[in-house]
Symmetry: C2
Subunit: 601 residues, 2 copies
C-alpha cells in the first residue's frame, strides 16, 4: 500500500511564517480560531485521513463501484469512512455553526482539507466537496424555506449534493442545454432532461442526494442568459405534496422524485467515484436565486470546485512524491560519478545521480510552490468576506485571477509531477503494487474537470485580465512591484528578486500584447491563452518562492529553512526558465494555427 | 472501438520523396525491392494490422491475461491473430530467406512495421519484435549448431524469444546480477537465477520460448565485464540428452527445462503483455558469442529494441490523434470568436477554436516530425550493412547518436501527444468507451522500457557524443551544415533554415559546454543530460522539417504538400522555441541539484 504522512509542518510554515494567516483573518469573524486551534485542525485532519481514508483508497480503485438496476453500490469501506468523517464533523468545517458546522476559515477547508483529502482518497473527497459547494450556494441564495429545510442536512453531510451542468451535446457550451423546468402552481418547478458526467449523481453513501440542476424555463432568453438554477432532491419529504417545505418532515418518501441514474461511465481512474448519466423526468425542484440567473450562481460553486480541483493536482503529486522519494532512498544502483560513496555496499544510493535528483526535486519544488500559492489563495478566500471594502475588493480581484491559474497550472503540474514520480521509480512505478500508477490515472481527470484547462486559460486571458480595464491585474501588480522594490537593495535576495522582476516585466509586456492584439483579432488572445496562463502561473510561483526565501534567509542554519532556500534556487534555475519559451510561443500568434488547412487536420 | 487507418501515404512521401529510400538501399542486397514492392508491403501490413490486430486490442486490455499455476493464458483472439500473422509471413520480413524470412530492408521492419504494430496492438507487437531481436543476435553471433537448430523457428515466429536482463536488485546497474551459469561437460551451461520484468517470459502463443539470459560464469571478472549471454529454451528437444544440437528433432520434451514463471506483474496498461518473474533452476543453456562478452551482444539487441520502443511512442500517438481528430470534427460547441461560422447550426465546429487547433496540431506535428526522423533512421539501419566503408561508418555513427534520441524523445513526445489527444476530447477522453485512455496507459511504459529515458540521455551525453573525440557528432554535423549552407540563399527556405541554423549553433555550443565542464565535473554532464537530449531531439526534428519543407516548396498547390509546409511552420513557431528554455536549464549546471540537502529530499 502507498504510504503518506500529512505535511503538517509545511502548512504551519506557510500559514504562520509566510502568509500570517491569523493576522489576515482578524476581524473576519473567526475570533475563536487562533494559531493553536488551526494547528490542531490541521493535525487532526491529517490523522483522520491517514487512518480512515488512506486504507480504502487502493481497495476503491481495485474493486470499483457496482452499477446495477439504476443503483450504485460504493466499494467496501467507503460508507464507513464517510460515516466516521461525518460524525467527527470533518465535512462541515466551514459551514455555519447554526447549521451544525464549525464556522472555521476557508483557508483550512479549501486548502489543507482539500490537499489531505485528495491525497489519501480523491474519490471519497469529492462527496463532501460537492456537498459543501451546494451548501454554499443554497445558504447564500436559497429562499428561507429551502435553507431551513436543506442546509443542515447538507452541512453535516447526512445528505449529499451534486452539480448537474453537462448534457451530451452541451459541455463547455452550456448555452445549448435542453433540460427544461416548467413552473408548477405551488411555486415549485417540474424539471425534465438528461445530464451526463454527473459526479456522485447516484450512490448509497447518503439517504438523499440534492442535485443543483441547470435548466431553462420556457419563454426565457436564448443561450446562457435563459438558464436558471434548481435544487432537485432524489427523494421528497414523506409528508409533502405541494406548497412550501417549511415544517416538512426529514423522513423521506423513498419513491424517487423522477430522478434516475441510467448509466455510470467506465473511466481510466477514480474507479470509486460515480460518473453518472442522470435523467430527470418531471422531477420536482425549487428555483435557487432569481429566474434566468442560474449561470452566475452555478459559477460561484464552480469557482470553488475549480480551486478544489486544483488541489487534487497538489494532493496526488504529494502522495506520489512521498512514495517515489521513499523508493529512491532504499534503492542502490550504480556509483557516484565522482567515485563510490559507499564502497562497502555493492552500489551507491541512487540519490547520488544528478538525473534522479533532478526528477525528485522537480516534483518536490512543484509541490512546495503550489502549496504556498494555495495557502495565499485560501486566506484571500476568507478576506473576500471582510467588511472592510478595500480588503474584500482586493481579495475578490485576486481570487478571480488566481482561480483559473490554480485550477489549470496546479493540475498541469500535478499530472507532470505524478508522471515524474512514476519515472524515477522505473518499472516499479508502472506496476500496481506500488500505488503510484493509481495516482497517475486518478490525477488525470483534474485537467478536464470543472472546465478543461484550455477553458481556464481562456477565462484568464479573455475575461479576468480584460475586465474593467485590467482592474484585477492592478490588485496583483501593486503588491508584487512593492515586494520587488522592497528587496531591491538586498544582496541575499538578488538571486530570487532579479528573475522575479524579469518575469513580472515579461508578464506585463505579454499582457499588453495579448490585450492590444486581441482587440484587433480575438484569435490572438485565444491562441496564446494556454501558454499565457502557464507563464502567469510561473510568475505567481516565482513570487511565492521569493517571499518564502525572504522569510527563510532570516532563519538560516536550520535544515528546514535551508532546504526551502535550496528549493527556491531550484525553482529559479530549473523551472522558471520555461517562461522564455512560453513567451516566444505566445508571440508567434494565431497565424500557424488558423491558416492550417482544416481539411488536412 | 477506436478507429485507425494506416498512414501509408505518409510513408510513401517520406521514403520516396524526402529520403530517397530506394536509391539509398542500392547495392545493399535488396535488389528485389523497388518502390512498388515496398509500397505493397506498407499497404499489406496496414491492411493486416487494421483487420487482424486492431479488433483484439481493446479486448486484450479489458480481459487481460490469466496467470495460473505458472502458466499464462493470453486474452481471446491473440493466439489466432498471432497465427495469422505468422502464416502470412509478417513476422519475418527482415529475416534471411534461408531461415524462411523475406530479406526485406530494416527501414520497413524497424519503422513502418513497428508503427502500425504498436498503434493497433502494442501488446501483441512485442512478441514478434522480441523474437526478431533474439533472431538477429543469434544468427549473427551464435554457433552454427545453435543457428541451425533455432534460427528458422525464431524467424518464422513458431517459437518466441525474450531478453532476460533485470533482477530484483539489478535493473539499470546490470553489473550487480547474480544469475550464474556453470559449464557442463558437453559444452552447454547450467543456468540458475531469478529474472524480473521479463516481457513475454511465459505465454501460450508458441510451443517454445527462447530466453536470452545474462549470467555470470564463476571465476570471471567483476561487474559487467564478467557477464555472458546464454540461450535458454523453455523446452529442450525430445531426443536430446547432451552434446551438440545438430540433428536434434524439433519435437519438444514438454517437461520444462527448469524454466518456470513464478509471477506476472499487475500493471497500469499493456494488460495483454505478460511481465514475468522467471526462475531458472539448473536450466540447460548455450553460450552465445564469446565468454564474458554478453553485454555488448545484449546491447545489439537492446539498441534495436530501443528504436522499437521509440516507435511505440509514435504508434500510440498516431492512433490517439486519429481518434481525437475524428471526435473534434464531429463536435460542435461555442462560436468562432470572429462571428458564427455556421449560423444555421446551434454551434460551430470546435475546430474554429484556436486552443483546440493548438492541441490537435501539436499532436499532428509531433507525429509527423518523429515519423520523418524514424524513416531516416530506418534507412541508416540498412546502410550500416553496406560494403562501402564510408557509408557504413557514417550510418553506424548516426544510428549510435540517433538511438537514444529516438527512444527518449519519441516516447516523451508520444506520452505528451496521447495526453494532448485525451485533453482535446474532454471528459470523453477519460472514459473507456473512446479508447484513448487505453493508449494513455499503454504508451506510458515506453518511457521506462529498455533503459529509462534518463538512461538514454546519459548514454547520449556521457558516451555517444564524447566517444572518439566526438566522431559520431561530426558525421551528423557535416550534412547538417551542408544542408543549411545549401539553402542559405533561398528566400522561401529562410523561415525554416534560419531557426534550424540557430538550433544547430546552440547545439554545438551546448555540446562544447557539456564536454568541457563535464571533464572537470562529470555531474555537470549528468545534470544536463535529459534537457540536452531533448534539445538534440528538437534540432534533429528541425532538420527533418526543413528538409521536408524543401521538398514541399517545389510542390505547392497540392493540399498534401501545403499542409506539410503548414506543419513545418507550426513546428518552428510553437515547438522548437522550447530549446531556448532547455539551454537555460542545461547552463544552470548541477549546483542546485547536488547541493540540495539530501536529508530533506
Amino acid at each position: 500500500m502507498a504510504e503518506w504522512n500529512p505535511p503538517n509542518r509545511e502548512y504551519e510554515f506557510l500559514f504562520f511564517e509566510v502568509f500570517d494567516a491569523i493576522e489576515s483573518l482578524e476581524g473576519l469573524g473567526f475570533d475563536d480560531f487562533d494559531k493553536d486551534s488551526l494547528s490542531l485542525m490541521i493535525e487532526g485532519w491529517g490523522n483522520h485521513t491517514k487512518e480512515v481514508w488512506l486504507p480504502i483508497n487502493e481497495t476503491g480503485d481495485r474493486e470499483g463501484l457496482i452499477f446495477e438496476g439504476g443503483e450504485i453500490t460504493m466499494p467496501p469501506g467507503f460508507k464507513d469512512a464517510y460515516k466516521r468523517g461525518m460524525e467527527e464533523g470533518w465535512f462541515s468545517t466551514s459551514c455555519k455553526p447554526e447549521h451544525g458546522g464549525m464556522g472555521a476559515p476557508l483557508c483550512f477547508q479549501s486548502v489543507t482539507w482539500s490537499e489531505y483529502g485528495t491525497a489519501t482518497c480523491m474519490a471519497l473527497s469529492v462527496f463532501p466537496a460537492l456537498s459543501n459547494g451546494v451548501y454554499e450556494v443554497l445558504s447564500k441564495h436559497g429562499s428561507k424555506d429551502l435553507v431551513d429545510y436543506f442546509a443542515r442536512k447538507l452541512a453535516t453531510g447526512e445528505w449529499a449534493g451534486t452539480m448537474c451542468l453537462t448534457e451530451p451535446h452541451a459541455g463547455t457550451d452550456l448555452g445549448l442545454i435542453s433540460t427544461k423546468a416548467e413552473p408548477r402552481p405551488d411555486g415549485s418547478y417540474q424539471v425534465s432532461g438528461t445530464k451526463m458526467f454527473i459526479t456522485a449523481g447516484e450512490h448509497d453513501m447518503t439517504e438523499n442526494i440534492l442535485h443543483l440542476v441547470l435548466a431553462k424555463v420556457p419563454g426565457g432568453p436564448e443561450g446562457t442568459k435563459g438558464i436558471s438554477l434548481f435544487l432537485v432532491p432524489k427523494h421528497l419529504p414523506s409528508d409533502w405534496g405541494s406548497g412550501p417545505l417549511a415544517g416538512s418532515s426529514h423522513e423521506l418518501n423513498h419513491q424517487k422524485n423522477g430522478v434516475t441514474c441510467s448509466g455510470s461511465e467506465g473511466k481510466m481512474g477514480l474507479h470509486a467515484s460515480p460518473t453518472c448519466v442522470m435523467n430527470f423526468e418531471q422531477s420536482v425542484g425549487w428555483l435557487v436565486g432569481p429566474l434566468h440567473r442560474g449561470m452566475p450562481l452555478m459559477f460561484e460553486m464552480m469557482n470553488r470546485e475549480r480551486l478544489a480541483t486544483g488541489m487534487m493536482g497538489l494532493g496526488l503529486a504529494e502522495i506520489s512524491y512521498q512514495n517515489a522519494a521513499a523508493w529512491c532512498r532504499e534503492r542502490r544502483q550504480g556509483r557516484d560519478l565522482r567515485g563510490a560513496r559507499d564502497p562497502e555496499e555493492e552500489a551507491d544510493s541512487i540519490l547520488v545521480h544528478p538525473d534522479v535528483r533532478r526528477m525528485l526535486l522537480q516534483a518536490k519544488v512543484n509541490i512546495e510552490g503550489c502549496r504556498a500559492l494555495a495557502s495565499w489563495t485560501g486566506i484571500l478566500l476568507d478576506q473576500m468576506h471582510s467588511d472592510d471594502k478595500e480588503v474584500s475588493e482586493s481579495a475578490s480581484a485576486l481570487v478571480a485571477l488566481l482561480t483559473p491559474i490554480v485550477k489549470a497550472h496546479f493540475t498541469d503540474l500535478g499530472c507532470e509531477t505524478v508522471d515524474t514520480c512514476m519515472q524515477v521509480m522505473g518499472g516499479a512505478g508502472y506496476c500496481s503494487e506500488f500505488g503510484v500508477e493509481q495516482f497517475y490515472r486518478d490525477v488525470r481527470i483534474s485537467k478536464i474537470w470543472e472546465g478543461t484547462n484550455g477553458i481556464q486559460a481562456l477565462d484568464l486571458a479573455g475575461r479576468k485580465i480584460t475586465k474593467d480595464f485590467g482592474a484585477n491585474l492592478r490588485h496583483l501588480m501593486w503588491p508584487l512591484i512593492e515586494f520587488i522594490e522592497e528587496n531591491r537593495e538586498s544582496k541575499d535576495m538578488e538571486e530570487f528578486n532579479k528573475p522575479l522582476y524579469k518575469g513580472v516585466r515579461g508578464l506585463q509586456q505579454l499582457t499588453l500584447m495579448m490585450v492590444s492584439e486581441g482587440m484587433a483579432n480575438p484569435n490572438f488572445l485565444a491562441a496564446g491563452a494556454s501558454d499565457y496562463c502557464r507563464y502567469f502561473g510561473n510568475v505567481l510561483l516565482g513570487y511565492t518562492w521569493a517571499k518564502t526565501a525572504q522569510v527563510c534567509l532570516e532563519r538560516r542554519g536550520d535544515p528546514f529553512y535551508d532546504a526551502k532556500l535550496s528549493s527556491a534556487r531550484f525553482f529559479f534555475d530549473r523551472i522558471f526558465p520555461e517562461t522564455i519559451s512560453l513567451a516566444a510561443k505566445i508571440q508567434s500568434g494565431p497565424k500557424t494555427l488558423m491558416e492550417y488547412p482544416e481539411a488536412m487536420i
